[in-house]
């Protein structure tokens, strides 16, 4: 329990540091939010008024403290770019789409990587092992936007199997089938780039596990290879994979930015990019806060899962 408390404190500190750093970076970035607020043809007087109204003339720490205080009260402010729209409403619309995209991508990556790793580990160095690794690394080597373009060309434009863009993405509870259909192509794009990493990590750990004495004992007892691999070797070999899944959440968030732009998904990545270019600081700050929380929480969940999977960690 004390460990969990320490962990939570550490996570809160990380979130604080990330939010402070991002606030500072945005402050130093080019672009004037006051101009973004009042528009193209505003006179210097009007821009000055907007600066005062937005509190942009206050010292940096005062502005950060004001923002942090508002956040603690659940107020992320109003978008500069689209006045009348709260930051929270924008994030609340975008967040579920990104979460689903990441979840679907991870599920697809694991669904492809785990069976491939298990079968490859069964006969290391075999033609199957070499082929799966080569293909997986081929996808790994391709940048996500390149892979996305090619998948989109074949699956959407040429064969018409899936939509090229998410034109009207319904909620997962509203229309789960359509939700999955519209997110299938972006999820596959994102997921395929992860397969190589998961495949190689799990394969290596499985090969190592298969050298253990208890596996030899299981073989001596006449258990089938399949049963040994899936029942006895997979679980203890999953620790590294699990770590990678947690760490990859951060990388996936980065990849999601490009994927969301490419497939026109109203997600956190696209929202953040648009907000950055528009100097829409409240939205950028809110998004960075959520990103850091998500990353920290994902790794927290992984830490907890370690304990669930491997009882030795508890000691």
């Amino acid at each position: 329990m004390r460990n969990v408390g320490r962990l939570v404190l550490r996570l809160a500190f990380v979130v604080f540091v990330v939010s402070l750093l991002s606030f500072w970076l945005l402050d130093a970035a080019p672009g004037d939010p006051a101009t973004a607020r009042v528009g193209v043809n505003a006179t210097p007087e009007v821009v000055a008024e907007a600066r005062a109204e937005l509190g942009l003339d206050d010292p940096f720490l005062v502005r950060y403290a004001r923002w942090a205080g508002d956040v603690l009260h659940g107020d992320l402010g109003e978008s500069y770019r689209t006045p009348g729209t709260t930051t929270w409403s924008l994030l609340a619309t975008a967040l579920p789409n990104t979460v689903l995209l990441l979840v679907y991508a991870q599920i697809l990556a694991l669904a492809i990587a785990v069976p491939l790793a298990v079968t490859a580990a069964r006969r290391p160095g075999s033609r199957w092992d070499r082929t799966t690794s080569a293909v997986a690394f081929g996808f790994f080597a391709l940048p996500t936007f390149v892979l996305g373009v090619y998948l989109s060309y074949f699956l959407a434009v040429r064969w018409g199997l899936l939509p090229a863009v998410a034109t009207d993405l319904p909620g997962v509870f509203e229309d789960p089938v359509e939700n999955v259909r519209q997110l299938a192509l972006p999820s596959l794009t994102l997921g395929l780039t992860l397969v190589a990493v998961y495949l190689r990590l799990l394969r290596s750990d499985l090969i190592s596990t298969l050298q253990q004495d208890y596996i030899l004992l299981a073989r001596a007892r006449g258990l089938s290879d399949r049963r040994i691999l899936w029942r006895h070797a997979l679980r203890p070999s999953s620790m590294t994979l699990l770590t990678a899944v947690g760490l990859n959440t951060g990388a996936l968030i980065g990849g999601a930015v490009i994927i969301e732009v490419l497939f026109a998904i109203n997600g956190m990545g696209r929202l953040t990019v648009n907000a950055v270019f528009a100097s829409d600081y409240p939205v950028v700050q809110g998004a960075v806060l959520l990103f850091s929380l998500a990353f920290v929480l994902a790794n927290f969940v992984v830490d907890v899962l370690y304990v669930a999977i491997d009882p030795r960690v508890r000691r």
Binding site: T85, L90, N266, N274
Partner: protein, 539 residues
């Protein structure tokens, strides 16, 4: 829909570097606006038969702007989204003349110092409020009071409701071109209780806002109480505008059938589709958006006309047109549409690299080295153009630096006069008077180049003072001559021909639209906008 394998492969390849750079930066404006569904290639006819009602259309757009507040500047994306929900008081007809639209009529007094607007009876906003004189007064007064857009109606002294359906607008000086302004944002009406609202648009147009997800999509549904409902308008049941920032992304979505039409396809796509019998391309037919470099004439070295003329002479505009616009645009030498009756050959300097180098050498001998920074947005069309211009200027002996900024971020230094030169796409009014404030000395911060010239002011004032084309032509001839002589701006090309709408052949009515009096509306205007009530889907 348009599935053409061979051609698509080329574009898949072309997309790769594009996406790397842009990841959401909103597409470069490589194009401005002109013609109809015909072109140098294939003519794609309207769908056969009479328009039929029903259907929902998904339309790809580059940006949805920043909201719908009519008392703030509506960015191009906002204008595009507002279009189906809006009916301005005035429209532009196929001859580039203004014509009553939501207003039943507009009439000036003898010296154009007062205009009387007559409204149609029984017209209602989307929320049921009446479109009466009080509503017009409320909208115009709110617009005039706005610090960020009110300048456009600066000559308006007062707006008064004469009776329920009549409004009188008094001017401080003769203003014959006033109705043209009412075809744009000053003439947009929203329900009086919602004036200043940014996240909703309660207008009078054929479609009603159903849902707006900022940065992603806008859905609008048919206005069953539309004031032109007797004519059968609108035909569509609903429109979804989907934001797909990249040109190639929109093209891919169109090819996959996810969207049935889209705007801003880019010059290379226009060229491809003009040769494709399965795709209709409508190009802009009005306005005159220019790619232009605005020079700060109040700051050395650009306060010296020799340097400004050298910069103009150094630029080979034909190369820009051929290499960056696929040869679709025309080199520009003023802000006036070259097909306009007011366009003249004012002696704008031609490409003359030796003359440019000589002028720079002369300045350097007398004053010192010519160094300048060119501001440009970090979008594809702008970045490419800036690099080509910098190459020309360097050849003439100018030390040029390009400063790339995010879209919109070039505005602040310009209005604060903290710039040398800025590259952007500007102007675009159907009538030259629409751009009055950007050249007149009374424009203040909006007179971006800071050039102040009595002759220029006189020409602009003359142009707006009367509807006599001869006198107006005289005024705008003065304006063009001063601009050609003083060169506060370097005109690159008229972007109209590369502002376009791409649609499936089953989509009808994008152009030409019909005006309430039955005459033909100007095709695509103000970029690539059109009247949505005319659009229909063939079954």
């Amino acid at each position: 829909m348009a599935r053409n394998g061979a051609r698509w492969w080329r574009h898949v390849a072309a997309l790769l570097p594009l996406v790397l750079v842009t990841a959401g930066c909103g597409g470069g404006s490589d194009g401005g606006g002109g013609s109809d569904g015909t072109a140098a290639g294939v003519t794609v006819a309207q769908p056969p038969g009479k328009p039929v009602a029903g259907g929902e259309l998904t339309y790809g757009i580059r940006s949805d702007g920043t909201g719908f507040d009519t008392t703030s500047p509506l960015l191009p994306g906002s204008q595009e989204v507002v279009g189906p929900m809006n009916d301005p008081l005035v429209a532009i007809d196929e001859n580039n003349d203004w014509a009553p639209n939501l207003a039943a009529g507009l009439a000036p007094n003898s010296d154009f110092t007062e205009w009387t607007i007559t409204l149609r009876p029984d017209v209602r906003f989307h929320d049921g409020a009446p479109v009466d004189a009080a509503a017009v007064v409320a909208n115009l007064d709110a617009f005039r009071a706005s610090p960020s857009v009110g300048y456009a109606l600066a000559p308006v002294k007062s707006v008064t409701a004469v009776d329920e359906l009549t409004v009188s607008v008094a001017m401080s000086a003769p203003w014959a071109a006033f109705p043209y302004y009412l075809s744009g944002q000053p003439g947009y009406l929203v329900s009086p209780g919602t004036i200043g609202t940014n996240d909703d648009f309660v207008g009078v147009g054929p479609f009603v806002l159903d849902r707006w997800v900022p940065g992603d999509s806008v859905r609008m549904v048919r206005n069953d109480d539309y004031w032109r409902g007797d004519e059968g308008f609108p035909y569509l049941d609903a429109i979804t505008m989907k934001v797909i920032p990249e040109q190639e992304g929109r093209r891919q979505a169109f090819a996959a059938g996810d969207i049935q039409a889209y705007s801003n396809p880019g010059s290379s796509t226009i060229l491809d589709f003009l040769a494709d019998p399965k795709v209709r391309v409508d190009r802009s037919s009005g306005g005159s958006l220019e790619m232009v470099v605005t020079l700060n004439t109040a700051k050395p070295p650009l306060d010296d006309v020799r340097v400004r003329r050298a910069l103009v002479k150094a630029v080979n505009r034909k190369i820009v047109v051929e290499s960056l616009r696929s040869g679709l645009t025309e080199p520009a030498d003023s802000f006036i549409d070259p097909t306009s009756e007011f366009s003249i050959d004012a002696g704008y300097p031609d490409y003359d690299p030796k003359g440019a180098a000589d002028l720079i050498a002369e300045y350097e001998k007398a004053v010192g080295p010519v160094e300048l920074t060119l501001l440009a947005t970090n979008t594809d069309g702008m970045r490419d153009t800036a690099e080509v211009l910098a190459t020309f200027w360097k050849e003439a002996g100018v030390d040029v630096k390009i400063k790339e900024v995010a879209p919109g971020a070039q505005i602040s230094p310009v209005i604060n006069d903290d710039f040398d030169a800025v590259l952007w796409a500007q102007f675009g009014g159907v009538d030259p008077d629409n751009d009055y404030v950007f050249f007149h000395s009374s424009g203040g911060a909006l007179n971006w180049s800071n050039l102040e010239s009595t002759e220029l002011d006189e020409g602009l004032d003359l142009g707006r003072s009367t509807d006599d084309p001869k006198i107006r032509a005289e005024g705008y001839a003065m304006v063009q001559r001063v601009l050609a002589e003083e060169v506060p701006m370097i005109w690159i090309d008229h972007l109209a021909p590369v502002q376009a709408v791409v649609s499936a052949p089953s989509i009808g009515g994008i152009v030409p639209g019909t005006l309430p009096d039955g005459s033909t509306r100007l095709g695509l205007t103000n970029g690539a906008q059109f009247s949505w009530e005319d659009v229909w889907i063939a079954r």
